[in-house]
Amino acid sequence: MSGSDPTRRLLLGGALTGAAGASLAGCDKLAASPAVNERLGAAEGLNFHVQRLLLGRNALAREYPPSAIAPDFRANGTTNPDSEDYQQHVADGFKAWRLEIGGLVERPLSLSLDELRQAPARSQITRHDCVEGWSSIAKWKGARLGPLLDRAGVKPQAKYVAFFCADTLELTLDGTGDYYETIDLADAHHPQTLLAYEMNDQPLPVAHGAPIRLRLERQLGYKMAKYVMRIELIDSFAKLGQGKGGYWEDRGYQWYAGI
């Protein structure tokens, strides 16, 4: 135990500094490795199962008084889809627009915006949390997704609801740049899960996803698809896009966004 030997101390210091430098340089290599990312992704499953267990299916997201509505709600992602079809819908006030609900259902539906407004609805003032870190509060009104799915008759083999949108975030030849999202049936039947057609008592603005956007209040904003055109009940999302369950999921975001 000749602890105070200065050369040994220097050597130790040098070794530690060297190790720190080497590990910093190696960090990005490590971070980009698919095997490492898969290992880390295991925590995502843990988040999902633990939170489902703690929350149950129906715990409600907090709702706020009208005074809490934010005047500066930010519009993220696409704020005006440039496809010809969509622009035509905007021009005629979505009169010809129809929402298709198909896939693994007994009775496929095709609903106009007026018909959607006749469906069982809910209003809620909730907080929107963006994956980037910011939050905002708005009032949403829309058709509850659960009763609509009941009307269409979900087949027993269906596990997920897929939302196909009018916005393309990345131009690709195979369409994998089109926005889409998937949620499971438990979340689809949550009382606060809406196809929102009103924001702050006004028709949903184009910047926020006109004519309808999904509200999924216990998860982050990127799950809440805007410009929803078609809904499909599916048993797996492996064949959609790049197979991860959503536009942003295909680009590295977590499918479960409750955290």
Binding site: R8, Q51, A59, V131
Partner: protein, 278 residues
């Protein structure tokens, strides 16, 4: 707590200060905190602004890191806190981050994980190591509280608290206890360790949970306790800054008090308290 083991050989007396479980959890904790810090800054880069309350008042953040372009086209980085602005070009707001030219980037690449911008990857590292931190922390706490170690080593006595002022002065003069006096932690060590273990780390966990929209739905009272989601996010960052400050002081004290003896004790458990003069 059982008596601390002590042995004397060749005139050197050492005590067995840290059992294996404490040493192992210390280093797992250190690794987790490092990864959580670097991945946390990666996440923060997606929206480097802080607010008080439930929502983001975009036009009046409490603090923000910004990139601005001067009239001549030069990129500048600045840190704004409560209205006061500081030019931080090269580090915060605008940094070279591996390239030749300045780029708009809140925290530079050398302090984020991954080094390149990737929010999804940052979140994956952050949540995986958050689980590791919590499990490791629970193992440590179960042992430390169960064995009576916390009570025996960290509980300040009334006498020590009365001598707090003198202890601060001694530390500022870099006068440290040696020999028999170093057998026990001094009052500043006790308070610092208590503040980290029972203050900052639980605060990190709780404010982290408030940021989860699902957990907020389960425990809205926790959100209210911290004054809303954006307040919780701000406190999360402040507490992280507190932990970083602790680590700096902790390492500085290790170096000042005798790095070899200190490192030996946290690697092998044995801490030398006395050497007989030959």
């Amino acid at each position: 707590m059982t008596e601390v083991r002590e042995r004397t050989a060749k005139g050197v007396t050492a005590i067995y200060r840290h059992p294996l479980l404490v040493r192992a959890t210390h280093w797992v904790n250190a690794l987790c905190l490092l990864v959580l810090l670097l991945s946390g800054l990666q996440i923060l880069n997606a929206h480097p602004a802080f607010y008080w309350g439930e929502v983001s008042h975009f036009d009046r953040p409490f603090a923000a890191i910004e990139a601005t372009t001067a009239a001549n086209g030069d990129l500048h980085g600045q840190l704004m806190v409560a209205g006061a602005k500081l030019d931080t070009t090269g580090v915060l707001g605008a940094s070279k981050s591996g390239g030749d030219q300045l780029q708009a980037r809140a925290f530079p690449s050398w302090i984020t994980l991954p080094g390149y911008l990737d929010l999804g990857a940052g979140r994956r590292w952050h949540f995986a190591f958050a689980w590791a931190l919590v499990i490791n922390g629970l193992v440590y706490l179960g042992f430390a509280l169960g064995s009576g170690r916390t009570q025996a080593m960290l509980k300040p006595t009334r006498e020590e608290l009365r001598g707090l002022g003198a202890a601060v002065l001694d530390h500022l003069r870099l006068r440290f206890a040696h020999g028999e006096d170093a057998r026990n932690y001094n009052i500043l060590q006790k308070l610092a360790y208590l503040a980290v273990i029972f203050g900052l780390l639980p605060l990190m966990l709780l404010t982290g949970l408030v940021m989860s929209p699902a957990m907020y739905a389960r425990l809205p009272i926790l959100g209210e306790l911290f004054g809303g989601r954006q307040s919780a996010r701000t406190i999360h960052f402040l507490a992280a800054s507190g932990l970083v400050s602790f680590v700096f002081v902790h390492v500085a004290m290790v170096i000042a008090a005798g790095p070899v003896n200190e490192m030996r004790s946290i690697l092998t458990g044995w801490f030398v308290i006395r050497r007989e003069k030959p």
